[in-house]
């Protein structure tokens, strides 16, 4: 949030708008969101498992769209999203949150799933390494999200932190509105069992994440 506020302040500071960024022009034809969606629906073709309903946005996607640099989400909207998304999280009925970190590592490595080129019968992965550093053994990690190395060791191996890890993977928007991170449980990308395994990767003291 702080970064967006700084970016907005920087825009105001330069008379011509945001220098070096593609800020919205002050004038020009207005294109409504409805028009844009109509054009998109006429421009995409259903293929494999990817149907046109993937262009239908929920409230979070709507609120987080159309936000060029310097147009941060209003604070009250962000708080409402976080509250609603947090309330929608379903925790495992058996109360157990820690699965198998070895299976969690495989889920973190796998980017398979939900693309129109993917077989819908193949179990989807979480592709955590695309954006996060997790273990010291895997060097091919992305940097869109923060490093999660020593996630459990840094925070402490407590039940509260296990619950937070489960909730964050299940629905990232509950803690940071308009996060770049997918809502793996909320949107049915990963199953409850798979999320438990990812929680183990993050929170099991034996996991290489905590070595």
């Amino acid at each position: 949030m702080n970064k967006s506020i700084l970016a907005a302040a920087a825009c105001v500071a330069t008379a011509a708008g945001c220098a070096g960024t593609t800020a919205p022009p002050s004038s020009g034809p207005q294109v409504t969101t409805e028009q844009a969606i109509a054009v998109m629906k006429a421009s995409f073709i259903e293929k494999g498992q990817a149907k046109l309903d993937r262009l239908d946005q929920d409230d979070v996607q709507k609120a987080c769209s159309d936000r060029p640099p310097g147009t941060p989400l209003p604070k009250e909207v962000g708080q409402r999203i976080e509250k609603e998304q947090l309330a929608s999280i379903r925790y495992p009925a058996d109360g157990k949150l820690l699965g198998d970190w070895k299976r969690g590592e495989k889920i973190a490595q796998s980017g398979v799933g939900k693309q129109y080129t993917d077989d819908p019968k193949v179990v989807a992965g979480g592709n955590c390494y695309a954006c996060h550093e997790l273990t010291k053994k895997e060097l091919a990690f992305g940097t869109i999200g923060p490093s999660l190395y020593n996630f459990g060791r840094k925070r402490g191996f407590t039940p509260e932190n296990r619950k937070y890890a489960y909730a964050k993977v299940y629905n990232s928007e509950a803690f940071a509105a308009c996060s770049n991170m997918p809502r793996f449980g909320h949107n049915g990308i990963l199953s409850e069992e798979q999320i438990k395994d990812v929680v183990a990767l993050l929170m099991d003291p034996e996991s290489p994440v905590n070595q």
Partner: protein
């Protein structure tokens, strides 16, 4: 022929080395460029495209030599730097690929379905579109991007493209901005340009089309957008669709002032 065989062999060797994570992708590309010297396998596509441009084809048995890409009939040099643009004869904003389709239909007499049915090459399948795109873009190499976006329909396309760039949806909540809205990020080891920044937009747009070493193909900008949306978990972006042209307009105009260095070489 020896040189061509060597270029392709170098590509295979590079692709094998690129599997190792020890060096960054950017460093690997740089080593590959050095190994090639001034060569780029895209030259093969450019040569084929030039021949196709002059060849009498289609039911009309005419060449593309009178095709107006925006700078007048038959002017190829510099044409890519002003695209997409508004064309009065179709009353539409067109990018390079959609304008080529228009010329194939209007000049050469192809049916629209024929002109658009094989937009991208693949293993064992070389298509005319990739080659002609490579030829036309190469004729603007070294020139600066100069998209006007002043006509009302061009401005509308730009605004529409901006909306699409910042549109988030699908099972992963992804939009273009998810990967291309922040500085100095990587996905796995791949560097990601921040396309909301002028310098990154200029470099990124100015290096497409590209010979993709890992695929052994020259990939057009329409292909680049198509494959981004696949990874975004969206349905398939239709070739030369209005959304694809609008998004291209947004990205091309943001790259104005940048030097075109395409077709380039990418991993």
């Amino acid at each position: 022929m020896n040189r061509i065989a060597w270029l392709l062999a170098a590509g295979v060797a590079f692709a094998a080395q690129a599997q190792q994570p020890q060096r960054s992708t950017a460093e690997e590309i740089e080593r590959y460029r050095e190994a090639l010297g001034e060569g780029n396998p895209a030259e093969l596509w450019e040569a084929r495209g030039e021949a196709l441009w002059h060849q009498r084809r289609g039911p009309g048995n005419v060449s593309l030599e009178q095709c107006d890409l925006g700078l007048g009939p038959g002017v190829v040099k510099g044409a890519y730097t002003v695209l997409p643009r508004y064309f009065p004869d179709t009353d539409k904003v067109e990018d390079l690929e959609s304008r080529l389709v228009t010329c194939m239909v209007k000049l050469q007499g192809f049916k629209l379905e024929e002109a658009t049915k094989d937009p991208f090459g693949g293993p064992g399948k070389k298509v005319p579109m990739d080659a002609i795109v490579a030829y036309v873009t190469a004729q603007s190499r070294g020139m600066k991007m100069n998209v006007a976006a002043t006509h009302p329909k061009e401005r509308e396309a730009y605004e529409l493209g901006r909306k699409i760039f910042f549109f988030r949806g699908g099972p992963h909540d992804f939009g273009c901005v998810t990967c291309h809205g922040d500085d100095n990020k990587r996905i796995r080891l791949q560097d990601l340009p921040n396309l909301t920044r002028t310098a990154d937009a200029q470099h990124a747009y100015g290096t497409w089309p590209a010979y993709r070493v890992s695929q052994g193909e020259v990939r057009s900008f329409q292909w680049r957008l198509n494959d981004c949306f696949r990874q975004q978990r969206f349905p398939e972006l239709r070739f030369t669709s209005p959304a694809s042209i609008a998004l291209t307009m947004f990205l091309a105009k943001n790259a104005n002032g940048g030097t075109l260095d395409a077709p380039s070489i990418k991993r």
